[in-house]
Amino acid sequence: MKRLQSTAVAALATTGLLLGLTACGGGDETPAADGGSTELRVWVMGDAGKTLTEVTKDFTAETGITLKIDGIPWENVNDRLTTAVASGDGPDVVQVGLSLLPTFADAGVLEDITEQVKAYPELDPSNFPDAVSPQALTGTDAVTSVPWVSDTRILFYRTDILGEAGISAAPTTWDEMRSAAKTLAARGDGQYGYYIPLWDNTLPVQYTWQAGGDVIGADGAIDLDTPAFGAAVDHWTGFFADGSAPTASDWDQTQGFISGATPMVVSGPYLARAIDEAAPELEGKWDVATLPTNVTGTSLFAGSNLAVWKGSKNVDAAVKLLAHLADPEVQVAWYEAMSELPTTADALETVAAADPKVKVYADQLADARTVPMVPGWDLAANEMATALTDIVTTGADRDSRLAQLRDKVAEIEKNY
C-alpha cells in the first residue's frame, strides 16, 4: 500500500513537472489582425511609452489601429534584441538608436520598406538631414528605417565662471578651447576647465572629423593610422596632460557643471534638461555654442530611427504609424513632451525659432555625422576609449599603445 502511494506521488510529481515545462514553452500571442482592428506592437526606448500613447491618440481614432507599447530600458536594448531574434517573436515597430543600427541590420531584423514609404510624402528622405539618409546609413537606396528623433553634441559652458576668468565668449577653435580650459583649471585645487567623459567613445571620433579626417578608410575598413586621428588623440590627451580635465572615471557631468568644477562640457540636449531640473537657479548663467573648430566643427549625429520588424504581419499599418510620427506637428509635440529634437526640417525649424538654445542644436545638426555604420564598430570604439584612457591615466606610451590598439581593431574586424 505504502509502495503504491509513493509510486503515485512520484508519477504525479513527474507529470506535474512536465506540464509545467510545456506551459513555459507555450504562450504565443500573435493576434490575427482582422476585422479592421489592427494592433501594432511597438518597442520604444526608455520612458517614451507614455508620451507615445499621447501623440498617437488621433492616429488610433482616425485609422482604428491600436498600439501595444513596450518601453525598454536603454541598458536592456541589446538583451531584448537578441531574445527577439532568437525566438523570432519581435514587435511590429521598433525604435533603433543610431549606434545600434549596424547591429540591428546585421541581425537581419529590419524589413525593407522602400516601396511602402513611397506612398507617404512625410517619409520622403528629402525631409530629413543627409546624415541619416538611406545612402549614409546603409550605402544603398533601400529604406530599412526612417529618422525619428535627433540628438547632437554641442558645447555647454558657464557664462558666469568664464566671465570671472576673463573669457568673454565661448571658445570657437581648438586652440581657444585648450587655453580657456587651462585658464579655468588654474582657478584652484579641484577646479578644472573641461570635462571629457572617459567612457565616451564618440568624442575622439568627432575630433578626428574636426581635424579633417575620418576613422573609416576608403576601403570601408576602420583606419586609425591617419594624421587626423593622431591630431585627435593629441587634442584629447592634451586636456588631461595639462590638468584641464579630471581623470576620475566616476565624475558626474551634471554635478560638475552645476558646482562649476568643470564649467565646460560637450554634451547633448539631455544635459540641458538635467540642469533645468537639478539647478533651475542657474538659469541665465550658462549657455550653449556649436563645437570649437579645427579644420571643421563636425559633431556627432545621434538619435533614433524607427523601423519595421522583419516578418511583421502588419507592414502597411506600421509604415502608416511611421508616417504619422514623421508629421512635423507630431514631432513638435514630441519635442515639447520629451525634449528630444525632431528630425524633419520643418519641425526642427519650428522648435528652433522658439528657443535660441535649440537654434544652436539645429545649427550643429547641419554639420553632424553618425558613428560609422560598420559591424564591430562598438567593440572597436570601446578599445579606442580604453587605449586613450590608458595613455592619460596609467602613463602608457602613446605610440606603442596606439599601435597595440590598431592590432586589436584589426583583429576585431577579422572576427566580425
Binding site: T7, A10, D250, A261, L379, D390, N415
Partner: protein, 305 residues
C-alpha cells in the same frame, strides 16, 4: 563482505521497490538535465561555432570553427586580465567573508537576547536588498565628487580616496560591497550551525575550567566544521562567478581593473553578440570552478580520513 543470502534479500527488496525510486528522483534529475546539463552541452556546441547575432537570425550563416574561439581566448590579454582580477578578488574575498561571517555569528550566538535577534535581521538585510539599490547607495558613498566617504575623510583631515577611479582602489571598493552583501547569509548559516551544537559540550568544558576563548576555539569552531566547509565552498564558487558588484558599480572599469571573468564573458556575449566566443569563455570558467571545487572536496575527504 555480504553473504549470499543477504545479497539475495537486497536484490529482492530492489525488485520490490520497482519504479518508485526512479520516479521519485526523476523530477530532480529532469530539472538538472534540462536546466543544468543541457545548457552546458549547448554552450559546448556553440563554443565551436562563430555564432553571432547574424547567425541567431539566420542559422545557415553559422560556421563550425573548431577550437578557434579557444585559441582566440588564450591570445586575448583581456581574458587573462579578467582571470587575474577574479583570482585576486577570490583570494582576498573568500577568507574575509568566512572570517567576518564567523565572527558575527559567534558574537550573535554568545550574546543572545533581543538585541542579538534584531541584529541578526540587520545583518541579513544586505543579502535581500536589490542589487540596483545597493549600487545606487554605494555609488553615492564612493563618488569622488560628492561622496559621503570622501566627505568624512576630508572632514577629519585625510586625503580623499579615488574609490572607483583608481585600479587598485576600485578592486577594494567592489570587494568591500561584495563582502558586505555576502556576509549576511553566511552568518545565518553559521549561526544555525552554532545553535545546533549540543549545550552539554559547552557545559562540560566549562566544568573543566575552560575559558570562553578556549571554548570557542576548541569546542565551537571544530564542531562547526561542516557548516564552515559548506560556507567556504559556496563562497569560493560565488567569488569565482563574481559579477553583480562590478557590473552595477564600475562596469568592469577603470580600464578592466574590476572586470571579472563572468563580466568579461557577459560583455563578449551580450554586449558584442559574440555568442560562440563567449560560450568558449564560459566553458573555461566551468572547468576552473569544477577543478577548484573538486580540490576542496578532496581536501575535506583527506581531512576526515
Amino acid at each position: 563482505m555480504p553473504t549470499s543470502s543477504a545479497r539475495r534479500t537486497s536484490r529482492a527488496s530492489a525488485r520490490r521497490a520497482g519504479v518508485a525510486p526512479y520516479l521519485l528522483v526523476g523530477p530532480a534529475v529532469l530539472v538538472l538535465a534540462v536546466f543544468g546539463i543541457l545548457p552546458i552541452l549547448v554552450a559546448a556546441g556553440v563554443s565551436l561555432t562563430d555564432l553571432n547575432i547574424r547567425g541567431l537570425g539566420d542559422p545557415s550563416t553559422v560556421e563550425f570553427v573548431g577550437l578557434a574561439n579557444y585559441s582566440r581566448l588564450v591570445a586575448d590579454g583581456a581574458f587573462w586580465n579578467a582571470l587575474r582580477v577574479t583570482g585576486i578578488l577570490a583570494v582576498v574575498g573568500v577568507p574575509t567573508v568566512v572570517l567576518v561571517s564567523l565572527t558575527i555569528a559567534l558574537l550573535l550566538h554568545t550574546s543572545g537576547g533581543r538585541l542579538a535577534q534584531a541584529l541578526r535581521a540587520f545583518y541579513f538585510l544586505p543579502a535581500i536588498t536589490a542589487i540596483v539599490a545597493v549600487a545606487l547607495v554605494w555609488g553615492y558613498l564612493f563618488n569622488s565628487q560628492f561622496g559621503l566617504l570622501n566627505h568624512l575623510l576630508t572632514t577629519v583631515g585625510l586625503d580623499p580616496v579615488p574609490w572607483l577611479s583608481d585600479p587598485t582602489w576600485a578592486k577594494v571598493s567592489v570587494g568591500l560591497v561584495a563582502v558586505w552583501r555576502a556576509s549576511g547569509l553566511n552568518t545565518i548559516i553559521l549561526l544555525a550551525g552554532l545553535q545546533g551544537i549540543p549545550h552539554e559540550y559547552d557545559e562540560a568544558a566549562q566544568l573543566d575550567g575552560a575559558n570562553r576563548w578556549t571554548r570557542t576555539w576548541r569546542i565551537q569552531v571544530p564542531l562547526l566544521k561542516f557548516a564552515l566547509f559548506f560556507v567556504t565552498v559556496t563562497t569560493v564558487i560565488s567569488w569565482l562567478q563574481f559579477f553583480d558588484e562590478p557590473y552595477v558599480l564600475t562596469e568592469g572599469g577603470p580600464n578592466g581593473a574590476t572586470t571579472s571573468i563572468s563580466l568579461y564573458i557577459f560583455q563578449q556575449g551580450f554586449r558584442y553578440n559574440q555568442f560562440g566566443f563567449a560560450s568558449a569563455g564560459s566553458l573555461v570558467l566551468l572547468v576552473v570552478i569544477a577543478v577548484v571545487t573538486l580540490v576542496q572536496l578532496r581536501g575535506r575527504r583527506l581531512d576526515v580520513d
